[in-house]
């Protein structure tokens, strides 16, 4: 009876690449970044409402780094949050409204401060995932005796994949697999081979959304149940995964290549000395 409560942690990584979202706003004014953040917040609220021991974290990932939207550094935690936290003026559950206000404020700060320079137009997704894993790891260390934590990461991806991040991505995926952390992917626009692999390896769900406007509905129907509940529900089946590796020299996806017998790194052209291990 005593401490059987399992903490369910959901980390949502939102892709807020300003270039993609800017183009998106021109293509389809109905679905903008604020609508996307609303859907994400609904999902976060629903997750927190499910059980007292559920926790949430939201990370925004853009082309210059990643940033924690919730919990942010100024957030002093649940107990004794006291005076800095604005109370909800309406019927929303207090905790949820505090979280939502924080998220809105932080995303506003971020978007106003980003400056896109030069060639870096790709979302640094691998970095955000690494941050998420570190956060999960820290929380796991801070548990009291007898408590257990189950975590998963939900990636809401907007822009295209960046093949340069292949190595980092794969490392993150394998680390997540070791820690039994599920990675789910909700893709808005173009299919992402990296995320498909991530979902396949860690056992999460991959879904490309046919209608962006209905993002909230898809999130609630498909991605809200946790791993235990997923075993009971009928969910979209896994898609065919593109398992091609990227070569280490050019970061191109190749089907046939050369492998170093010592360190197993992959190259597209023959070279007598391996650049990784020599």
């Amino acid at each position: 009876m005593a401490s059987e409560d399992e903490i369910n942690l959901l980390v949502i990584v939102v892709d807020v690449n300003p270039i993609w979202w800017g183009q998106q706003a021109q293509r389809d004014p109905q679905f903008t970044l604020s609508k996307c953040m609303d859907a994400v917040m609904v999902m976060g609220n629903a997750h927190m409402a499910m059980a007292r021991t559920n926790k949430l974290a939201v990370i925004a990932s853009h082309c210059q780094g990643s940033h924690f939207l919730y919990p942010s550094k100024s957030w002093s935690g649940e107990d004794g949050g006291g005076n800095d936290v604005s109370s909800s003026g309406d019927g929303k559950y207090e905790l949820l409204s505090a979280a939502n206000n924080l998220i809105v404020e932080e995303i506003r700060n971020i978007m106003s401060k980003i400056e896109v320079t030069g060639n870096s137009t790709d979302t640094l997704l691998a970095g955000s995932l690494a941050k998420a894993l570190c956060y999960i790891h820290r929380l796991t260390k801070e548990l009291e005796v007898g408590q257990e934590i189950k975590s998963r990461i939900l990636v809401v991806k907007a822009a295209e994949d960046c093949a340069l991040q292949y190595m980092n991505f794969m490392n993150v995926i394998f680390a997540a697999q070791k820690q039994n952390i599920l990675i789910d992917a909700c893709v808005l626009d173009s299919d992402s081979g990296l995320l498909q692999q991530a979902c396949d390896i860690t056992g999460g769900l991959y879904m490309k959304i046919p209608q962006k406007v209905a993002l909230a509905q898809y999130l609630l129907w498909v991605f809200l149940p946790d791993s235990e509940q997923r075993s009971q529900l009928v969910l979209p089946p896994p898609a065919h995964v593109d398992y091609r590796a990227a070569c280490f020299c050019h970061r191109n996806l190749i089907e046939i290549g050369y492998v170093c017998s010592v360190c197993l790194s992959i190259f597209c052209n023959f070279s007598p000395i391996c650049t990784t291990c020599e």
Partner: protein, 458 residues
């Protein structure tokens, strides 16, 4: 033969199922209640509700049945019955003639409000009153809560403590204490069982009893319940103001203050702090792990603990009267020192406790609670087995009422009557060699009539 009354600690669902439909619908008018009820649902049902929360049309039942995999069909049926029992959804005829499910609209709107905002604020936060000069921090709130709760428990055990008349009357009405005319109330067997439960169950049982008597006091059940749930969702350490609370709610607040669920500096003070006890209340019988100091039973303010040895001796390192009284319930006191109490478990003492209505399971569970996070439960298996055996000793004989039929003139008569009784299902016992049988009192009249008819035929 005294029947043992088992203390039942119903949880939130069963309580709600007992309420009448109109009250339930009025209850769902408050977002806090909806959220509390939602949290208590089984996880599959939660997913169902969440999926249907944003739909305005009914969904065909067949479609909903397809949501689960084949092997989880049983869970699906269970969820359907739970949701229907709580009146969260009902069937509605669709256009094509199929049966569909739709969420209770009141519940749907209020759950949406709780999740997304809009609607009235639940309670006025103390922001309008400015910062509290006498603000209390969390530890003092915890201490206060445990103090008040312990005073109530001590009153039950019989140690002198100041408890209001209202509270004493509530305990009597709850069946936990009995009061003879003019004398002070003393504890009943149900009260003993209550003492051995853990704090969360005790709180919940107590609240349920209070709610049952609320209507007789002229308080509005719906208002009180909504306030209770709202309290359970508030954050620890924040103060809330009493603006806009009706008379009956204010009275309720005073009662809660006595139970230790809220803290108010003075009766007239305009702000109150919910304590940890209140916040874990809606968690009901499932205790929360965050409040590790609640997991130990009250009275261990000085972190006393109990050691049970294999020679049936109990050493209780505690000063708390309550703990000592609890140990004295089922063991014989041997020595008492300023910081230790030594007691011996004997067959007589345990059987006396069992005669009072406590089960061995409750005693063992109670001890298991005292060994929380740090040590693994160190109850020797010999002791647990022996307590169970002593309990079973009382169950060796089982009494059933019956009517004896004997002195049959022939074996054939006996067999005919015996078969008839067996066919009716009221045969309790028979002895073929001596031609004796016992029939239940209910079946006796039927068998007698049959026998008379039989005799008049032959």
């Amino acid at each position: 033969m005294k029947l043992r009354v088992q203390l039942q600690c119903k949880n939130l669902h069963e309580y709600l199922k007992e309420l009448s439909p109109e009250i339930l619908d009025r209850l769902y008018n408050h977002p806090a209640t909806c959220l509390a009820v939602y949290r208590e649902l089984p996880s599959l049902a939660k997913n169902y509700v969440m999926r249907m929360l944003f739909l305005d049309q009914p969904l065909p039942q067949a479609a909903v049945a397809l949501w689960v995999k084949k092997d989880s069909q049983k869970d699906h049926d269970e969820c359907v019955s739970v949701l229907a029992g709580l009146r969260l959804w009902h069937s509605q005829q669709l256009q094509g003639g199929l049966q569909g499910y739709i969420l209770n609209p009141v519940f749907k709107d209020n759950l949406r409000t709780a999740l997304l905002g809009g609607g009235r604020a639940w309670a006025d936060e103390g922001s309008t009153l400015g910062p509290d000069r006498h603000a209390r921090d969390i530890e003092s709130l915890d201490r206060y809560a445990m103090e008040r709760w312990e005073i109530i428990l001590q009153f039950m055990v019989g140690s002198p403590s100041a408890v209001s008349q209202d509270l004493a009357q509530l305990l009597v009405q709850a069946g936990l204490m009995k009061s003879e005319a003019g004398e002070a109330p003393y504890i009943t067997s149900a009260g003993f069982q209550f003492l051995l439960l853990d704090t969360a169950s005790q709180l919940w049982y107590f609240t349920l009893q209070y709610l049952k008597t609320a209507q007789s006091r002229g308080m509005d059940l719906v208002e009180i319940l909504s306030f209770l749930f709202q309290l359970s969702f508030s954050s620890l350490g924040r103060d809330y103001s009493v603006e806009g609370m009706s008379e009956s709610l204010l009275t309720f607040l005073q009662h809660l203050r006595e139970f230790g669920l809220v803290f108010q500096r003075k009766r007239k003070s305009r702000r109150y702090y919910p304590t940890r006890l209140a916040i874990t209340l809606a968690a009901g019988v499932a205790s929360s792990s965050s409040s590790s100091n609640l997991a130990s039973s009250p009275g261990t303010g000085d972190a006393g603990f109990i050691v049970v040895e294999t020679n049936y001796r109990i050493y209780a390192y505690t000063n708390s009267e309550l703990q000592i009284a609890l140990v004295a319930l089922f063991s014989e006191m041997l020595y008492r020192f300023p910081n230790v109490v030594v007691a011996q478990l004997t067959r007589e003492s345990v059987q006396q406790a069992i005669a009072n209505g406590i089960t061995a399971q409750q005693v063992l569970l109670h001890w298991a609670h005292l060994h929380t996070k740090n040590s693994t439960p160190v109850l020797p298996p010999t002791i647990t087995d022996q307590i169970r055996l002593w309990e079973l000793e009382r169950d060796r004989l089982q009494f059933t009422e019956g009517v004896l039929y004997n002195q049959f003139l022939s074996q054939a008569d006996f067999e005919v009557l015996r078969d008839r009784a067996q066919g009716l299902g009221c045969l309790v016992w028979q002895d073929v060699a001596h031609r004796v049988m016992v029939v239940t009192p209910q079946g006796h009249s039927e068998v007698k009539r049959f026998w008379k008819r039989q005799r008049s035929h032959t």
